[in-house]
């Protein structure tokens, strides 16, 4: 079982929803439409094939120059054959809704909350979607590229001495 085989299976079952695929640093990366995430991840989890039974990571990305700016990246891992796969899906800022996969992997719970906290991507069906790392009264999504790293309300540090 290798990347080409998995890609072929995915294109066979989910053709029409796959927007692109490439192999980056040895890991197969496919971009799909958000609506098919649930079915795709449940299919990939099935044993013995394809067998990606471990959710390694979920994170968000923000590409400001694209039409669909906010993205969610899933990394899955097949431990028996030591294969990884990366699934990307993109949504717009106005309608940032992606279905949740908490019911497939319990590990996705806090990872999706973190993505919501940083980027504002809402996961439909999540049991407890609220901010996890930042303070609750923060009214913006800090990891988006529109916002600077420094605190917007600070008044004591002079930017001249900090190389900004």
């Amino acid at each position: 079982m290798d990347n080409n085989y998995v890609l072929q299976k995915i294109r066979q079952y989910f053709d029409g929803f796959v927007l692109g695929y490439e192999e980056l640093s040895g890991i197969l990366t496919i971009t799909v439409k958000p609506v098919v995430i649930n079915d795709l991840v449940s299919y990939l989890k099935k044993e013995p094939e394809p067998g990606f039974s471990f959710l390694t990571d979920i994170c968000g990305v923000h590409y400001p120059n694209q039409e669909n700016e906010l993205g969610v990246v899933y990394h899955l891992h097949n431990m028996k054959n030591n294969m990884r796969i990366r699934i990307k899906t993109f949504v717009t800022k106005e309608y940032p809704i992606v279905p949740t996969i908490t019911w497939i992997y319990a590990a996705a719970n806090w990872m999706e909350r973190e993505t919501y906290d940083f980027y504002g991507i809402e996961f439909e069906g999540h049991p407890n979607l609220k901010r996890i790392l930042n303070v609750e009264y923060l009214d913006y999504y800090p990891m988006r590229k529109d916002y600077a790293m420094e605190d917007p309300t600070r008044e004591d540090k002079d930017n001249r001495y900090f190389g900004r």
């Binding site: 303070v135 790293m149 605190d151």
Partner: protein, 195 residues
């Protein structure tokens, strides 16, 4: 004992002594007693906390300065040692812990993050704990070596020894606390927001 010159004995405070008595001022005696029995509250949040654990362990031993008993309850502590980064989420809690301590109380900010935010100049980190509580001694370093932390504690001891007995009741001190929004009287249901 044969090796008398190996041991240093703490000098007695200035005063008038005679056969069987010694007369000195009260604040010197109280200062001497207080400085050699400071009970710290280790408020360890991150990496500086591990260097504090090394300071407490047998190699650099904090106990020989009188701080053998760590108190995790603020009500029974003298010295609040803030070690590590304080985020904005943690600010109100730090202020609450400080308020619970009984007078006289001292604060030492260990590490660059507690002193000024450190390398984390971001939206979520409090840029120094002196935005929420008054601080007596700052120990720089990232993390400071255990010897530096001990140096900070010795400076606290100097402050403790030389403090006037009336300082905590003075108007200056009350104004200082009021400028941080710290009430002396515990009031329930008052919301606290930290900028």
């Amino acid at each position: 004992m044969s090796d008398q010159n190996k041991y240093t004995i703490v000098a007695a405070p200035e005063g008038h002594s005679g056969p069987g008595f010694m007369a000195t001022s009260l604040d010197k005696v109280v200062g001497l007693a207080r400085k050699n029995s400071i009970w710290p509250l280790p408020f360890a949040t991150s990496c500086c906390g591990i260097e504090f654990m090394s300071t407490m362990a047998s190699n650099y031993d904090l106990g020989r300065f009188g701080s053998e008993r760590l108190s995790f309850s603020p009500r029974q502590a003298d010295l609040l040692m803030v070690m590590g980064t304080i985020a904005k989420k943690m600010g109100p809690i730090l202020q609450q812990v400080y308020e619970q301590m009984a007078e006289p109380r001292w604060v030492i900010a260990v590490g660059a993050c507690a002193a000024s935010g450190g390398i984390f100049d971001t939206h979520s980190v409090l840029q120094g704990i002196d935005r929420v509580i008054p601080v007596d001694v700052y120990v720089p370093g990232c993390p400071p070596r255990p010897e530096q932390i001990l140096d900070g504690i010795l400076k606290i001891q100097e402050l403790v020894e030389s403090e006037s007995l009336r300082r905590r009741d003075s108007k200056e001190y009350k104004d200082l606390l009021a400028s941080f929004g710290i009430n002396q009287v515990w009031k329930k249901d008052e919301p606290k927001t930290i900028i």
